[in-house]
């Protein structure tokens, strides 16, 4: 047990003290702080003053006798543009002026209230402007028409009062996914799926590289003459995990500093709206279990190669699995009910992402969570037992790397005999 902690602290310490670790953590932290303050930074560089709002001239040829344009022009709701009535009713000249840069857009209106048609010039690259303009025109038309019809307030209220809409689940105790809840889960799942992918790729290859490096420098033989290879392997996985956790912590701290500096209320909205503590706990548990599952395989693969340069080749299958899991979960985000997502969530290598996806997006029954978690825990343990045996044989094996013969040889070498 002593040796286990010696290995953990040695592994973590070496990693944390390494220049690469310090620099990448610092760069990551700075990047996060500056991203969170991007607005302030851009403002500082783009000089003072507000952005010029673009101008939409309104050519009003409707029966409203210019009312339309005036009501539009009276809209003062902080949008990125502003309406101005055009001095004449000539659409062509307004468009011509826009081409000459006197204003940005031209909105030409004509027809009677029953049939108003609007043409918008200059939409081009930003479809959202046209969308907003369309809404505005619609609203103005409604208010002008109700005005024309001479409806009283009661009648107006009847028209505009919203319908009360509520949802109920079919099953008892079921939950209804609200749009907010859905978006929250969506982004968290998205985040976690990526987090697991990154953890597997970076830490998996870290574990494999570390093992291969100790093998290639031949120090491994001395180490395993003092400490059981299985203890050493688990110590390594935990040590690198600890360094990774520290890295994560640094990112959180950086995010907090960035938040404090920016004075934005981003985090408050995040915490109040997208933050669900039980989801975070599930995420952490799944990341940790996933790490041990993938980490065991990575250590095993690292033990099969003789030189650090061969690590990339050796961990390729693991990377493929991680990529496939990533693809499946991205697809699954939009169809969390699909049967294949349900089935695949039982496959240990996909469980961390897919189970979380189902917990976050779907209403997965409690017993299934327990069963799938159980499968994941048991397979993580089994994988590590198998990995340990192959590791034990693999660390003494040198020669050209080949999966088939390597695995078989290592497996036999690690055999407990007599």
């Amino acid at each position: 047990m002593n040796n286990f902690w010696t290995t953990v602290s040695h592994t973590a310490e070496r990693r944390i003290k390494s220049k690469a670790f310090v620099i990448s953590t610092l760069v990551m932290g700075l990047l996060i702080i500056s991203l969170m303050n991007i607005n302030t930074i851009i403002d500082r560089f783009s000089g003072d003053g507000e952005e010029e709002r673009s101008v939409i001239v309104v050519v009003d040829n409707t029966v409203s006798e210019g009312m339309f344009g005036e009501v539009l022009a009276s809209f003062e709701e902080g949008g990125s543009f502003q309406y101005t009535p055009y001095s004449s009713s000539n659409v062509d000249s307004a468009v011509e002026d826009a081409r000459n840069g006197e204003h940005d857009y031209v909105l030409a209106l004509e027809g009677s209230f029953e049939n108003i048609s609007a043409e918008f010039f200059g939409g081009g690259s930003d479809f959202r402007v046209a969308m907003e303009v369309n809404n505005d025109v619609q609203r103005v038309k409604e208010s002008l028409v109700t005005n024309e019809l001479d409806l009283n307030e009661q009648q107006m209220a009847m028209i505009y009062s919203p319908v009360s809409f509520s949802e109920s689940p079919l099953r008892e105790n079921g939950e209804v996914q609200t749009q907010e809840g859905h978006m929250q889960a969506y982004w968290m799942v998205y985040g976690l799926v990526f987090a697991i992918y990154m953890v597997v790729l970076t830490f998996g290859s870290m574990i494999a590289t570390e093992v291969a490096t100790e093998k290639s420098s031949r120090v491994m033989e001395i180490i395993v003459s003092s400490v059981n290879p299985v203890t050493q392997m688990l110590g390594k996985i935990l040590g690198i995990g600890a360094a990774g956790l520290l890295n994560l912590l640094a990112i959180v701290v950086a995010a907090f500093i960035g938040y404090t500096l920016s004075g934005d209320d981003f985090l408050e909205t995040f915490f109040s709206e997208t933050f669900d503590i039980s989801l975070i706990i599930f995420a952490l548990v799944l990341i940790i279990l996933g790490y041990f599952l993938y980490g065991g395989v990575a250590a095993m693969l690292g033990a099969l190669v003789s030189r650090a340069e061969e690590v990339n080749q050796a961990i390729q299958p693991l990377v493929f699995i991680a990529i496939i899991a990533l693809f499946i979960s991205v697809i699954g985000l939009n169809t969390p009910d699909a049967a294949f997502i349900k089935v695949l969530s039982y496959v240990p290598f996909f469980t961390p992402q897919l189970l979380f996806l189902r917990i976050g997006m779907d209403t997965i029954p409690g017993w299934e969570i327990v069963v799938i978690m159980g499968v994941l825990i048991i397979s993580a343990i089994l994988i590590n037992i198998l990995a340990a045996r192959i590791y034990k044989g693999g660390v003494l094996m040198y020669g050209k790397f080949s999966f088939k013969t390597g695995l078989k040889q290592a497996f036999n070498l690690g055999k407990k005999e007599g």
Partner: protein, 300 residues
């Protein structure tokens, strides 16, 4: 306390690496394991260390099997040297010795003592990759002995060393033996084995071809070597039955004969011829025995 190896056998797939080896090494003894490359020395060492489990047979120290619980009893210098190239001498010895259950202050004290002994105290904070090969080997040796093991396994400890460093290491090994450490070592350099060991085992293709007390082996080994100096032609000796090899040079000849009886016959034959300036029957060198028994290895 005795290291006892009983009839061990190790097979990899269909290949037999070690077969039917038994030996006993008493406390404070220096035991030599000889054999050509691939004879099974390293595999045997790995089994003693518990890195590999024997397919059959037992290995015990002081009556108990060696396991990771007793790892601090053993020191190991592997044939393939290996240290962390990027770590300083101090940092890596601290890590490796912590794995042997030592406390940090003790480790540092021992590091300084050994560095002084090897006359390289300035290496304490140097990285391994900055050291020469010979000096790396001193550190490697320290990694095997710093924790004062009861059993010390040295796989080719003197290979690749210059004579000065080689002697320095040899003295250290002798001192450890005097202090009561049981030492098993392998070497291609027969002179080192002759100098240091009382008992040896010689392996060929995983089997013991020769085993026992080195002096007795030499004395009872049939083959003898005779050097003769005389004033007349000695080539006629070749025709005497039992002569294995005759090496005539300017000032005499070296004759290898099958046994002592042949030597007596040669003595009679040349004393009939005339005056003999020198006639000496020597025991064969370990080198000769090695080539005779283990065959073909010309490492020395």
């Amino acid at each position: 306390m005795t290291l006892v190896i009983e009839n061990i056998r190790k097979t990899f797939d269909n290949h037999v690496a070690v077969e039917g080896i038994s030996l006993k090494v008493q406390k404070g003894e220096m035991f030599g394991m000889l054999g050509a490359n691939g004879a099974g020395k390293t595999t045997s060492f790995r089994m003693i260390l518990g890195l590999l489990d024997p397919t059959e047979g037992n290995i015990t120290w002081d009556g108990d099997r060696l396991s990771y619980k007793r790892t601090k009893l053993i020191g190991y210098l592997p044939e393939e040297r290996g240290l962390f190239p990027k770590l300083t001498v101090k940092d890596q010895l601290i890590y490796l010795m912590k794995l042997k259950g030592m406390k940090k202050p003790d480790i540092i004290r021992e590091i300084r003592q050994w560095l002084d002994r090897f006359q390289v105290p300035e290496y304490e904070n140097k990285k391994i990759e900055e050291l020469s090969k010979g000096n790396q080997q001193k550190i490697q040796f320290m990694a095997a002995v710093l924790h004062k093991p009861e059993i010390l396994i040295l796989d080719e400890p003197f290979s690749g060393l210059d004579p000065v460093n080689s002697d320095m290491l040899k003295d250290a090994v002798r001192d450890l033996q005097k202090a009561g450490t049981t030492i098993v070592f392998s070497s291609h350099q027969m002179r080192n084995v002759e100098e240091l060991c009382e008992d040896i085992i010689m392996l060929k293709e995983g089997k013991a071809v020769l085993q026992g007390n080195l002096r007795e082996i030499k004395r009872s080994y049939g083959m003898k070597s005779i050097s003769i100096r005389a004033d007349y032609e000695l080539a006629f000796l070749r025709s005497i039955p039992g002569v294995m090899n005759l090496d005539v040079s300017k000032d005499g000849a070296v004759v290898k004969v099958e046994n002592e009886r042949v030597a007596e016959e040669i003595f009679r034959a040349i004393s009939e011829k005339g005056f003999v300036r020198k006639f000496e029957v020597e025991e064969p060198s370990l080198h000769d025995i090695f080539i005779d028994k283990a065959g073909g290895d010309k490492d020395e």
